[in-house]
């Protein structure tokens, strides 16, 4: 456990040693603001909630999370430090979880810095803070899901651009899976069970369920098992392709 924390601290410090962290956070907050206030019609809605803010999160994450995750393993492969890391007395599980947790904490930090939105809505009206808290938790879980996908893709290549593009594409599929247009496409030729299965893979379905203020166990299990599966795949990829 202490080794995981040591690795995690190094990873986390790595974000702030370069401009990556600052650029990411500024862009994230800027886009949150623009999307919420201009495209989301936050004021015009006249409602004391943060729906207009959270609606955009899946789309923001779609591009910004792969930007964090693309370097996780691809960079280690490219620079050869993976050889250093894998010959230190740490297990693969420790290395994989430390990298993921550091990235997740970083994403969580960016998310936490959106607190002015929460203050604003509380100053203007009397929102249901329970719903807002649930939405924040949902958004954080969803960020973890995107990150796990990105980490796994990053483990399969030494090229960060490839890692980014494939991560965005795969993440996009996980968002799309809940859209009626996509589900209607499948409906005529597969059974209802398969359609339901595809729909249940959708980040949007689970995220919007949470943003309604109900943290259902099924949604927690979905994100938890998704993260677990992709991290397991991540570890397997590293183990199989260490030398490439």
């Amino acid at each position: 456990m202490s080794k995981t924390i040591t690795l995690m601290k190094r990873e986390l410090a790595g974000y702030f040693a370069t401009p990556v962290a600052y650029v990411f956070m500024v862009i994230f907050l800027l886009l949150c603001g623009i999307l919420t206030f201009y495209l989301g019609d936050f004021y015009e809605n006249g409602q004391a909630d943060l729906q207009a803010f959270f609606t955009w999160h899946p789309w923001l994450y779609l591009f910004l999370i792969p930007a964090i995750s693309m370097r996780l393993w691809a960079e280690e492969r490219k620079s050869g430090t993976i050889e250093l890391l894998m010959t230190l007395p740490v297990s693969l599980a420790q290395a994989v979880s430390a990298k993921f947790l550091a990235a997740w904490i970083f994403a969580g930090l960016a998310l936490a810095l959106t607190f002015p939105f929460w203050i604003t809505v509380n100053l203007l009206g009397d929102p249901d803070n329970g719903v807002i808290l649930a939405s924040y938790i949902g958004s954080f879980l969803m960020a973890g899901g995107f990150l796990a996908i990105g980490a796994c893709i990053s483990a399969s290549t030494k090229n960060q651009v490839i890692a980014f593009v494939i991560s965005v594409t795969l993440s996009f599929l996980f968002i799309l899976a809940g859209f009626p247009a996509v589900l209607n496409f499948f409906k005529p030729w597969v059974g209802q069970a398969v359609v339901d299965a595809i729909s249940s893979l959708s980040f949007l379905t689970h995220f919007s369920a949470i943003t309604k203020g109900v943290i259902d166990l099924r949604d927690l299990v979905f994100f938890g098992s998704l993260i677990g599966c992709f991290l397991f795949a991540n570890a397997t990829l590293i183990e199989l392709k260490k030398a490439d």
Binding site: K3, T6, L7, R10, A13, G14, A17, T18, S79, G80, T81, E83, L84, M86, T87, L88, P89, V90, S91, K242, A243
Partner: protein
């Protein structure tokens, strides 16, 4: 302390390491020699547990590197090829990170100071690693490998990219640590083997070709025990004639020559020693000799022969 049994590694159809077995004991500095792509690095990567062997087994200090990976990695220090490091960290931060992960006991800061002094890193301790020169980076890599005072030290080309002074320092450092450790290092530099190693293994095309001491390796050279003598050009014919007349001399070759002097190399018949006879003859016939010595054997020639790039030795 290191035991390697029938180690092989295949990448697809390509066999990088082909059934290598050997054992290394405490106090040994083992030099891995071989052409580029011979399988030296792959073997080292399997010893340190980075790569899993296709077949075979590596045991380090009693720990199976595959089965008991963490324990085996704990007793090893490793400098990978090219000394990869985290570029955005400073040497101080990086060594602190390694010390924490390695669980260095006692006063970590003091231990880091000690190692930093050993490899002369004091002046760059707080500079990002990415801005360091190749020599400094290599030394950070070396510091990282010796930080926890490991029983087994595996160094992949530890002096590559260093200037002659730095090479000398690194060799002195390795020699000073060698007494109670196993050191395995790879190199292309043959003088390094003579200067540093107590044992040499040559690998070619993934196979172990030779396993002996550097002196025994030199003895495989056809130059071993040959006598080289440098004489004025004017005397060449006379000396050549009387050397050819000696029963012990198997053949004669010409070495370096300039305007005034020539070098002759006389090869003995198997088992014969030439130097006393040639010395006696020189005295009797009053040759003017500028230089006369017995060749210990040439490692580069042995290396080329054994790895299949040179002609087979005449004797």
């Amino acid at each position: 302390m290191i035991e390697i049994q029938h180690l092989s590694k295949r990448f697809g159809l390509f066999t990088a390491v082909d059934d290598i077995s050997f054992q290394v004991d405490k106090g040994t500095v083992l030099g891995f020699l071989g052409p580029n792509g011979a399988g030296k690095s792959t073997t080292m990567k399997m010893i340190t547990g980075f790569l899993s062997p296709t077949t075979g087994k590596v045991t380090v200090c009693g720990h199976d590197v595959q089965e008991d990976a963490i324990a085996a990695k704990e007793v090893m220090g490793y400098l990978p090829e090219g000394a990869p490091l985290y570029p955005d960290m400073t040497p101080r931060g990086f060594l602190g990170f390694i010390a924490e992960l390695r669980g260095v006991k006692g006063d970590r800061r003091a231990r880091i100071e000690e190692v930093v002094a050993k490899v002369n890193l004091q002046s760059v301790l707080d500079v990002p690693i990415e801005t360091l020169s190749k020599g400094y980076k290599r030394r950070v890599g070396l510091a990282q490998a010796i930080l926890h005072d490991p029983a087994v030290l595996v160094l992949d080309e530890p002096t590559d990219g260093l200037d002659p002074n730095q090479k000398h320092e690194v060799r002195a450092l390795i020699r000073s640590m060698a007494r109670d450790k196993v050191v395995v290092l790879s190199t292309h530099i043959l003088e390094e083997v003579e200067a540093l190693c107590t044992r040499t293994i040559i690998i070619a095309n993934g196979k172990l070709v030779v396993d002996c001491t550097p002196a025994q390796l030199a003895a495989k050279s056809r130059y071993h025990n040959a006598v080289s003598l440098t004489i004025p050009r004017a005397q060449r014919e006379r000396v050549e004639k009387s050397l050819n007349g000696m029963a012990q001399v198997a053949s004669l070759e010409f070495g370096r020559a300039d305007d005034s002097r020539v070098t002759l190399i006389a090869f003995p018949r198997p088992g014969a020693s030439l130097v006393a006879d040639i010395g006696g003859k020189a005295r009797d016939e009053r040759w003017e000799i500028d230089e006369l010595h017995v060749e210990p054997g040439r490692l580069d020639e042995v290396f080329r022969t054994l790895t299949g790039f040179g002609s087979v030795a005449a004797n």
